[in-house]
Amino acid sequence: MIPPAASTRAIDAPSFSTSRFRAEREADWIAFDLLLTRLEKKGAAALTSDELLQLPLLYRATLSSLSIARATSLDKALLDHLEALSIRGYFLVYGVRETRLNRLRRFFLYDWPAAVRSVWKETLIISLIILLGAMTSYSLVSSNPEWYFNFVDEEMSGGRDPRATAEFLQSTLGHGKAAADKGESGLHVFATYLFTHNSQVSILSFALGFAFGIPTMMLEYYQGIGLGAMMAIFSAKGLGFDFGGWLFIHGTTELFAAALSGAAGLRIGGAVVFPGARGRLQAAADAGRTAGKVMVGVILMLFAAGLLEGFGRQLITDTMLRYAIGSLMLLFWLAYYYIPRREDVT
């Protein structure tokens, strides 16, 4: 607030003066500032309905003051203050139109499946790439097991290579004696590790998308290669069916998520290469927003996959049951994403 002596003095000043303009309007700015500060700290719930009605009025008064000040005043402190206040006010008044809970609800009901549906072409392409990778390595390793060592790290395979015996391979699938000895401790640690690791790989494969999608496709191809090589080893020992179950229980969710993250990356890469009628920047921004939604979904899917892999797979050793759970998950995701529903138009 200004001291009364100064304000009477300013109003006494002759004709139009910027001091007088300020003395007349200053109370509005201070009120707006106070309102904004409370809104920022405590949200809209902290304001009474009178104050909420005041908000747009004060906002417009401040904007109009800014226009007048720019045209008439040379007081830098005043101009800076009004500018900062208007910017703050604009983003608060026009910024949030929804509560977080509402936003969350809409994300799960509409935005997430809609985003996934809209990248169906890319999802198909990435799935084919993963399949191609798997088939390549499968046929190569089947014809000559030596290829295996080119595809899978010593570290990652953990002894699951062509030299391993059928009994050992079986034990890694959670059957037989060795598996029973291992017990159940540390499962949740394992599950968490898998989740964080897979999420980071997916985020990477999404983020690499802007480089025309090529690194993304390579990464997904590589994922397929590891898979196919492993498959060839197990089926060579007649364990193909069991390995399928071991993979299937979490793999349907995890590979689906991997394909979606690749698809999100590819969508951005595609928008950069073929922007269509829009500007390249605009196309990338549009694709990025869709892909961002898909990616949040991917992280949630990977969380589910981590649980299935860490707990489900280690506790459920029956191959048929594993297949059943895996197929159920796959059906669930497909239904959730692709069954048409009434869109939320608002």
Partner: protein
């Protein structure tokens, strides 16, 4: 006229960072793009805060873990660390101020480039890309060290390549990093500026009067520099400025510096604002009166 050229250049540099941003009411907010230095400072602050939070969290988990004799804490730790790293930026930028603590400290915020509201998916997209920008150079370094077969030069090339992605914001005038580009966002200045008192209505402002010729020597730039000095209230700076003005207009040292400066400021401002009302904006002392 090198000083005039320098003045014009600094003004041009300032306007180059200003972006038109018209509100539905038709007022241009003139947003200023945040500089790379501020962005880096904000990132550094956030990183330090995240590390501190992780450390505290780790100590807490260690303490609980030792007390409870269970490895559940390890799970909570791994999950918590992942969530904190991934969602620190997203969580804060979804708030009403659209800024992480680091950004708030630097007085900057995230804004949708098209002037619409900042959507959650844009925030998610720009922050997931950050993962790549920050860690790809490190990963390249790590991969090079892990595999002996990769020569130093190849490693260097990889790091350089990934650095061009990370430092993308230095190569465009909107200071967009890769994530901003993909999400359609900008980072702009959003400082809070306190409303300072109106020094032009001070009672000391009428102590002396200046003639038209004495006031005609300066323009808006000098007026606002004078305002800065007056608001700063540093006696030595005021003395220097007062002496410079006295020498310029040929007045003897007769009054207190602050009285002299305040009077001069007030009358110069009144004169320039009157001219402004008639559509004449004199940017600095080099411009014609």
């Amino acid at each position: 006229m090198t000083a005039a050229a320098a003045n014009a250049k600094s003004r041009a540099a300032r306007t180059k960072k200003i972006r038109q941003f018209v509100t539905p009411e038709g007022v241009d907010l003139e947003l200023k793009i945040a500089s790379a230095g501020l962005r880096f400072g904000a990132l550094l602050v956030d990183m330090i805060l995240i590390q501190l939070a992780l450390l505290l969290f780790w100590l807490l988990m260690l303490w609980i873990g030792v007390a409870a004799q269970s490895d559940v804490t390890e799970v909570i730790w791994m999950l918590g660390a992942f969530l904190l790293r991934t969602f620190w930026f997203i969580g804060f930028e979804l708030g009403s101020r659209a800024a992480t603590p680091g950004k708030r400290l630097m007085g900057i915020r995230v804004v949708a480039r098209d002037g619409g509201r900042l959507t959650a998916d844009a925030v998610v997209a720009r922050n997931l890309i950050r993962e790549l920008e920050l860690f790809l150079p490190l990963m390249m370094l790590g991969a090079g060290v892990a595999q002996d077969s990769v020569s130093g030069w190849i490693m260097l090339a990889g790091v350089l390549w990934s650095l061009t992605l990370s430092l993308f914001l230095l190569f465009n005038r909107d200071r967009m990093r890769m994530g901003d580009l993909i999400a359609g966002t900008w980072v702009v200045m959003a400082q809070r500026v306190k409303l300072d008192a109106d020094i032009a209505v001070d009672a000391a402002g009428d102590a002396m009067t200046f003639s038209e010729e004495e006031l005609a020597v300066y323009g808006i730039f000098e007026l606002q520099e004078l305002e800065r000095v007056l608001r700063g209230r540093d006696p030595r700076a005021m003395r220097d400025v007062a002496d410079a003005i006295r020498a310029k207009i040929g007045r003897p040292v007769a009054e207190e510096d602050d009285v002299f400066l305040l009077s001069y400021y007030r009358q110069l401002k009144a004169r320039l604002e009157r001219k402004l009302l008639f559509g004449k904006r004199r940017e600095d002392k080099y411009a014609s009166d």
